[in-house]
């Protein structure tokens, strides 16, 4: 009975997804998964049964690290994954029902859903990247996310936590899990971790070390991202030549290499596979627009924007700053004031997106010369008139720019 219900639910979901694609409403992932889950609430559990998974979660770097880990694990066999950023249970269900055969999988999971997905999927590994403020209109408190992760990771049957020990919130979430693997993947954004998540006291930092009076402190890392290298538990360093920019991606590569190590993939093979990846669903994409080179950078929250601003090359390129505040972005763009836009002084900026007026006001106070252009394509044309362009956009504004550049 239950398997008949699952089969029916799967068929209905796949039909709905097909209709959605045919009618041009979307790629059908969400609607298909939603229908399958509505008809069989255990559909994700059933779709995952008997398979072997790694989950990837965290505020920033989910899609990139998932892509890295898929590349690494693909060196030993086929891998199913939820490409396209559909990282809620509906999207996961759709991805797994679409490919019921492949044994090994890598799934990125929206942070608050990690506990329920762990219960449903029973993964071998959970890759825990970082936690920082994001979409505060929905999640209210970052520490609360760490707390529900912590509860989910303490069970004896919990997955192997591959956890970033440079992030105190992630460390606290994973430190009582049965067999954590610690990765020094870096943390540039410290502003959500000046208070100890365990005791509420002051968290003291000393170089890369951090500690609290209650005894919580940075564990000794098994893996480290250091400069342009990833150093494994055997102490051997591997130079990393990623096509993707930024130190943050060396950290993501270290996380993925550590996770792939659980499947005994050698670090060198993992890192070689990751090096070739040059864009992740449009992120970091280099293309041309109006005859000028353009690069797209996605940044969704203060930590991500701070990283992205450091990736803007020192040579003179105009910058488009595109910000929306839809549900998927977070409705409150106050976070713009947590981002050091002062780094853009001396360049020309174009403010756009549905909240371009918030951007304009922030740039005014940052002392950055800017113009405001409502239309995203017009904004990019305006910037491209002056030479190469870096586009920095938050989530839904970024989707708009992927269409703008592909339409030419």
């Amino acid at each position: 009975m239950t398997s008949a219900r699952y089969a029916l639910a799967r068929a209905a979901g796949s039909t709905a997804a097909g209709l959605s694609r045919l009618t041009g409403r979307g790629d059908g992932t969400t609607v298909g998964g939603r229908i399958t889950l509505a008809m069989d609430p255990q559909a994700l559990e059933r779709a995952a049964a008997g398979r072997d998974f790694a989950l990837v979660s965290g505020t920033n770097g989910k899609s990139t690290t998932r892509t890295f880990l898929v590349a690494a694990l693909s060196t030993i066999g086929p891998v199913v994954s939820n490409a396209g950023g559909a990282n809620l249970p509906t999207g996961l269900t759709a991805a797994l029902t679409r490919d019921p055969q492949t044994q090994r999988g890598v799934l990125e999971v929206d942070e608050p859903f990690l506990p329920s997905v762990i219960t449903a999927v029973r993964p071998r590994v959970a890759v825990l990247l970082n936690l920082s403020r994001d979409q505060l209109d929905r999640y209210a408190e970052v520490r609360r996310l760490a707390e529900i992760w912590r509860d989910a990771l303490q069970a004896p049957t919990a997955p192997v936590a591959v956890a970033n020990c440079d992030d105190p919130l992630v460390t606290w979430a994973a430190i009582d899990s049965p067999t954590p693997i610690w990765v020094a993947a870096g943390q540039r954004w410290h502003d959500d971790t000046s208070v100890c998540p365990a005791c509420g006291g002051v968290l003291v930092r000393d170089g890369e070390d951090w500690s609290s009076d209650c005894g919580l402190r940075r564990p000794t890392p098994d893996w480290r991202a250091e400069g342009g290298a990833v150093i494994g538990p055997d102490g051997k360093g591997h130079a990393v030549e990623l096509a993707l920019p930024g130190q943050v991606n060396v950290g993501n590569a270290a996380m993925a290499a550590a996770a792939a190590g659980v499947w005994l993939v050698p670090a060198a093979a993992s890192l070689t596979a990751m090096a070739a990846i040059s864009s992740v669903e449009g992120r970091y994409l280099r293309t041309e627009y109006a005859g000028q080179p353009v690069r797209l950078l996605l940044a969704k929250n203060p930590a991500g924007w701070t990283e992205a601003l450091t990736m803007v090359p020192p040579e003179q390129a105009d910058v488009v700053v595109a910000v929306n505040a839809r549900a998927a972005d977070g409705r409150d763009p106050s976070w713009l004031w947590d981002v050091p836009f002062e780094l853009l002084r001396g360049r020309r900026a174009v403010a756009t997106g549905e909240r371009s007026r918030d951007v304009a006001l922030r740039l005014r106070y940052a002392g950055v010369e800017y113009t405001r252009v409502d239309n995203p394509a017009a904004a990019l044309r305006k910037a491209a008139a002056g030479g190469p362009v870096e586009v920095l956009a938050n989530y839904t504004a970024f989707q708009t720019y992927r269409r703008v550049v592909s339409d030419g």
């Binding site: 505060l136 929905r138 208070v195 002051v202 409150d332 106050s334 106070y365």
Partner: protein
């Protein structure tokens, strides 16, 4: 007061702890608005392990998480902020910063925690869901409409010594008597993020005026445009009746909801 020797010092209190919602921007706004007028000014960020400067001209506190709020109030109980308020230095506080200036607030666990007692108010919990959304008020201190974004579970009751900062036109605010914030002597408090002083330059200048006297006008084209946009957004949302519609993820139940 036009020829001050020293720069005007804006003390930003514990930005890493009370700065979750971009409220650090308030200090930047105050400092820059003085500089635009040729008045020397600087922001002094005071971290949680540092003593509060006794002689700053203006003090700014922002919002934060429950545990941060409790830690901040324990450090501020040394009397330095009280002394500043008593000598008439303006203090501007937002959200959690507002709550800790009161007589008491609730910890994350639901326990009552003593505040600094600088504003005659107490904070408990809103009965309904957390207040999340645009907040629009009419100020009671003659600085016009105040616009921003609120995100809190606290309900603040003003006592007889405190006046509200604004009368709520849209949103929740204090959650009692249809008002937002508090004004008591040189202390001004609100639930408005945005940051409040970026979206409401007249309120920023009101605070600065308490320090340097009459201010020359400045060009506020960006803020004016943004304000018009937000006023229109509140109106549209009200007309379409979707204002309280929210896809809000809620954490699994625990001993009590967050207060700040």
């Amino acid at each position: 007061m036009a020829s001050r020797g020293d720069p005007v010092r804006i003390a930003l209190i514990y930005p890493a702890v009370l700065g979750t919602y971009g409220d650090g921007g308030n200090a930047l706004v105050l400092t820059e608005r003085l500089r635009w007028r040729g008045i020397d000014a600087e922001t002094v960020a005071v971290e949680i392990d540092q003593p509060l400067p006794a002689q700053a001209d203006l003090y700014v506190l922002g919002g934060g998480e429950d545990s941060a709020q409790t830690l901040a109030v324990s450090r501020l109980s040394d009397g330095a902020l009280k002394a500043a308020a008593e000598r008439g230095a303006p203090v501007f506080a937002v959200c959690a910063g507002f709550q800790i200036l009161g007589e008491s607030f609730l910890e994350g666990t639901g326990a009552v925690h003593a505040g600094l007692g600088l504003i005659d108010c107490t904070t408990d919990r809103l009965e309904g869901p957390r207040a999340v959304g645009e907040l629009l008020t009419n100020s009671t201190i003659g600085v016009g409409a105040l616009t921003g974004y609120e995100n809190h579970g606290g309900r603040t009751n003003l006592g007889p010594s405190a006046e509200p900062l604004g009368v709520v036109r849209d949103g929740v605010g204090n959650g009692t008597l249809g008002v937002d914030g508090a004004v008591q002597g040189s202390l001004v408090a609100t639930y408005l993020h945005g940051p409040a002083l970026a979206r409401n330059p007249t309120l920023a200048d009101h605070l600065l005026g308490m320090v340097v006297g009459t201010l020359a006008p400045v060009d506020d084209a960006e803020a004016d445009e943004l304000r018009q946009e937000r006023f229109a957004a509140v109106q549209t949302a009200r007309r379409t009746g979707r204002w309280r519609w929210r896809r809000q993820w809620r954490p699994p139940a625990r001993s009590g909801p967050p207060t700040s």
